[in-house]
Symmetry: C2
Subunit: 145 residues, 2 copies
DNA sequence: GCAAATTACTTAGCCTGCTAACTTAACCTT
DNA sequence: AAGGTTAAGTTAGCAGGCTAAGTAATTTGC
């Protein structure tokens, strides 16, 4: 009994890691069409919702550490998708703005999202989707602290 | 209607990415206790099951690309956890073996796994665990090809 | 039996992502 | 107003992970 449960937990852990890695890989392939890497779309998404956000705001929204954001912004700046401007009222703060090229990616990337979601959730009922969502939230919550 | 479904899919996609990133992070913290990085435990695990596996076998079992494996093995070799030996019958093949230090990590790392699984699945019923497993398998399968 | 194709692995060069340690600017606090 | 603390970013250095291109050994196919 105990043995079976332990085995199942192991399988879930491994399955979870395996599935999320595969999702990421599959997604990376799609994003290559628009010359973007996984994670960068997330940053752009935040800017589509709030252009001119500060780097601290962005790293909090994205759930990543400040150095990760610094690097990513630098790269997107090198690609010509965003620009950085120092905040007028607080010289410590840097705000990130979309360029025209960065804004133009919104629709193509949303299209990639839609396709990816459709592919990933194919054949899964509405009820199961709700359950999956609930379980993910619970796991997410279990990992707090 | 359509709008709601689209939003939910977006949330699942984002939630999934968020939760798996958090799992990885939380897990990385635990593994730091034994001076190991996420992914390296997976390689060691394969060797505990099959010491002396070839690199191609390992990269297939782990679902990663050969260069990823080359790098990881190199690092574990530098740490003194594994050694590499050329195969006698086929000079192209490299086999990976555990050192004593590498074997010794089996129990501590299994303990970390158990704790992590317990924490992650806390409060989730047996039925829900089965559902989660089924959904993960389905998503995994959807992403094939 | 020898050239061509395949296999196993490596190298180089990107990327995300992390921690630790640092800089600079702003804010308290006495 | 000087000195310490906090806050926002950066730099350096290390991981995993990828693709593209290269090397060397083994098969295959004529």
């Amino acid at each position: 009994m105990q043995r079976i449960e332990t085995m199942m937990e192991e399988e879930i852990r491994i399955l979870f890691a395996k599935t999320s890695a595969k999702m990421r890989k599959d997604y990376a392939d799609s994003l290559r069409e628009v010359n973007i890497y996984v994670g960068q779309d997330h940053l752009l998404w935040q800017l589509w919702r709030k252009d001119g956000a500060t780097q601290t705001e962005l790293s909090e929204l994205m759930g990543c550490e400040p150095p990760t954001l610094t690097n990513m912004v630098k790269k997107l700046e090198a690609y010509g998708l965003v620009t950085r401007k120092k905040d007028a009222s607080d010289a410590r703060v840097t705000r990130v703005f979309l360029t025209e090229k960065g804004s133009a990616l919104e629709y193509p990337i949303e299209e990639i999202w839609r396709n990816h979601q459709k592919k990933m959730l194919n054949g899964i009922s509405e009820e199961d989707r709700l359950t999956l969502k609930r379980l993910l939230l619970q796991i997410d919550n279990n990992l707090k602290i």
